[in-house]
Subunit: 424 residues, 2 copies
């Protein structure tokens, strides 16, 4: 994979050419390629770890934080996990060729609406080198050529991982160019990649808000942005309060740094006197910093008053990604729905209720990718949803909403067969 | 519908508010509203025609072409046709609430993948005032509030049509703001509309390349562009030449001004000697200007040589939208596929063949929204495909590819129900 002397445009055109062949290849060849990649990763782990050590050394010299260095680091165990991930993707159902509609039209034409690969999918990612293989596996399985653009801090690791994947894929029968890496982590390369209209079909950024902003200004290629998750748990008047407590604590504390963690708890006034003191105590004991509105504070009572701070206006709009929770009291289900639609990011929203009408009103009224009734927001995940691995989570409404799995990496095609049909 | 004093942003926010209620309204109310709109249009046709006469007068003074004036003109008959169109949309199946997937997950959670409205859809269109009602009907039926932005040349007609629709819809039980018109046809208003991110969910332009280009530079709201149709008919070695002739002539001449008309005919060398003279003669006799490659010209022979001109390089990339056709000879099916993928716009592509392997290779290899086997490209159309009315035709690969019908005006939502489920 000699990409060093090639421009980003050259690399993308190589992938475009490969995509034409890839789109026609059956599942067994693609699956064999994913197994070959997994085997090669394990066989060549020494090479991978050596390259990773160079990145780690440079990262330490550059003063990367311990958290970033941990994301960057590969170990024998992590390489095995990456290989296992590729094998898991191989085991998923092939989305390509799935018949998603059709029939015989009035004039006798036979119409098939068929799922087909997008063509060339580019993944732009930061730090974690495992994304190199995760992304390549999902793209190849869905029949897409994959353009990878990692961060410069992982350049050595990514180059070896992508090189191993490209070689193994080609040996297993996939066309050359099915997996390509854009070398150079600079902004110039990002802009060049983001403007490969007609060559690259989709860009998926996996990284922070800075990366998304950088793409948003310049991209002419379609981008699916995984927006942040400002998720809510609403405890209805009719809620079973034990369930409500368990769900609120789980949604906030199970893994606070991820996008499906809750950031705001809303409590119906009718149960606030019972629920708020219990919930705040449990959340405080779990280490959660509580930012509450005036009604919550007054209900909390003197025992808890030192453990809560007054919520600022921006707290209702903030994805804390930490053990911090905004808590408010609302007078009605409608007020909760309005609050969520005004402040939420359309990711994952939960109601705890025993009332079927309330559940239905919440389901219909809340404008989000995933709406939960009596369950934690933490379940939003491709694997949890039975879609297999995901490459991200979309809060957009077009094309993909919710987990971006293999189907979401595809488009469709209408195939129409006649026996000489002309339009009269 | 007093929109004159409101900013574009105000108008869009009105629609946003309406969309929250609209999304929850059942099919019977929406259908009743569409019938009420149709009835009101017929009852108030005098008012419509009077407003239209003012636009026609201004258009004539401004020197609009006869073709543009014809597009602008409304008559009693045309108003009845517009009303009939709204009733036809009412008769279509409601896409909202359709269950498109789901089941019980391993942990007992019940997951439903449900089709839901996008929210607020803006249609930006030119000249034809009938689009006002066509667009409103499709948006309302799919549960979306509709923001309309027509051209200034049809301002009076559009204002009356949108006003009638808004009044009738509201009287029939839809929320105020379900149909709103942006007044002012200037570029400033277009930019303001195109940047209503988070308020408007989708913009669909219906107009020429200038309109698309104007949006492309500024839009932060997602846009589905109906790209042009540079469509091909490829006559394979094995083709039934009578069918091939009928299809080529139909695809080029049935309605040359539309996007699914053919612009290039490719003929396999193995049948060129038989087919080219017949096809060129028939096309010439149908009034088609023929722009041919050197091989086609030499095969055409002296009889036809005065009726053909040499194709320029750009002819292979041009959507003529007129009785003009590029004609070329290729040595293989693969060459035809490569030509189509290099020059086509991914709209509608046809092969005429008796060979099943050739049909399959073409279906799989051609990267287009619609691929035809032994049928004319002219069938690409929502109504022909059994989808009911369409609001346009997408050559994008994300979200909607092919006809944009009611389903394509929707997004999806995952509704997940548990009994206190938390993630462990």
């Amino acid at each position: 994979m000699a990409t060093t002397a090639q421009s980003v445009a050259d690399v993308c055109r190589t992938a475009r050419t490969a995509s034409r062949t890839l789109a026609r290849i059956g599942a067994s060849t693609k699956d064999a390629a994913l197994h070959a990649i997994a085997d090669a990763l394990e066989e060549r782990s020494a090479e991978i770890l050596e390259a990773n050590a160079r990145d780690m050394e440079a990262g330490a010299e550059a003063g990367l934080s311990a958290a970033l260095l941990d994301r960057l680091q590969l170990t024998e165990e992590r390489v095995r996990a990456i290989a296992a991930g590729a094998r898991q993707v191989a085991a998923l159902e092939d989305p390509v060729g799935e018949l998603i509609g059709g029939g015989r039209l009035a004039n006798g034409l036979e119409l098939r609406k068929v799922r087909v690969p997008l063509g060339v999918v580019a993944i732009v990612y930061e730090a974690r080198p495992n994304v190199t293989i995760d992304a390549a596996a999902l793209c190849l399985k869905s029949g897409n050529a994959c353009v990878l653009r990692g961060s410069s801090s992982a350049a050595h690791s990514n180059a070896v991982l992508a090189g191993i994947a490209a070689e193994a894929a080609e040996r297993a029968g996939l066309p050359a160019g099915s997996v390509v890496l854009v070398s150079g982590g600079g902004r110039e390369e990002l802009v060049e990649l983001a403007t490969q209209e007609g060559v690259v079909d989709l860009i998926i950024p996996r990284g922070g808000e800075g990366l998304k902003a950088a793409l948003k200004g310049v991209a002419t290629v379609p981008v699916i942005y995984a927006a942040s998750g400002n998720c809510h748990v609403y405890v209805d008047h009719s809620a079973d309060l034990d369930r409500a407590l368990a769900i609120a604590v789980n949604a906030k504390t199970h893994r606070p740094g991820v996008c499906n963690a809750a950031e705001t708890l809303l409590v119906h006034a009718g149960v606030a006197a019972d629920f708020v003191p219990r919930a705040l105590t449990a959340l405080r004991d779990a280490g959660v910093e509580l930012r509450v509105d005036a009604r919550t504070r007054s209900i909390a009572g003197p025992d808890l008053s030192q453990d809560v701070v007054e919520a600022a206006a921006e707290d209702w709009d903030t994805e804390f990604l930490a053990l911090v929770l905004a808590v408010g009291v609302v007078d009605s289900l409608e007020e909760a729905i309005e609050h969520i639609n005004a402040h939420g990011s359309g990711h994952s929203e939960a109601i705890v209720t025993a009332d079927l009408d309330a559940a239905r009103a919440f389901e219909h009224g809340v404008d989000a990718a995933c709406v939960y009734v009596n369950a934690s927001t933490r379940f939003t995940d491709g694997a949890e949803f039975g879609m297999g691995a995901e490459i991200g989570n979309s809060t957009q409404k077009l094309h993909a909403r919710g987990p971006i799995g293999l189907r979401e990496l595809c488009t469709l095609k209408y195939v129409v067969t006649g026996d000489g049909h002309v339009r009269g």
